[in-house]
Symmetry: C2
Subunit: 86 residues, 2 copies
Amino acid sequence: MVRPPLTPAERDRGRRLGALLRAARGDRSPAEVAAASGVSQEALRKIETGRVPTPAFFTVAALAGALDVPLDRLLADLAPDTALTA
Amino acid sequence: MVRPPLTPAERDRGRRLGALLRAARGDRSPAEVAAASGVSQEALRKIETGRVPTPAFFTVAALAGALDVPLDRLLADLAPDTALTA
DNA sequence: GACTATCCCGGTATTAGTATCACGCCATGG
DNA sequence: CCATGGCGTGATACTAATACCGGGATAGTC
């Protein structure tokens, strides 16, 4: 075994990330955000639905940029432990 | 062809990301940072040397956390154009 | 000089991420 | 009722990311 499969915790984390991105998208259409970020609609959907639990760094960065959400905000919201009361 | 290979620009961007992370590591040993971030030493060095141009989001996040560097700072330093002079 | 430790690089194996294709669901308009 | 378009999901193809294995180079020590 060379690479451990993703743990349920990781998948759950990805699901939360997707939920955050979808929430940040608001009422904007997926096509809109996909075009703005340069990410394909399919990738966007999969990330938003949590089916891609650990997307590439720059993919998330592009989406966050298009959604005007700081990456650190995403992380903070993902890990309430570090709650900065954001 | 279903997935376009990484462009030279993407590889260069990954190289800059690695350089930034290595600079942020300072004089701390790779093993130290790897242990602190939970990233394997090999993955860390591949990222630092730019041989992994587009690492996973949470991998970069873990490294940035261990290095005490905000992700947005990394992005800003990668793309000086968007420089918010943060 | 030999030994040890650390860093770096190569190859290999397996899983994950992304793109394309195909189908079904829902809403809208003919 | 049927057609169209956007959204969601599943399967498939291919590349990339990560882990494990070995080797080599360098610095420090004995």
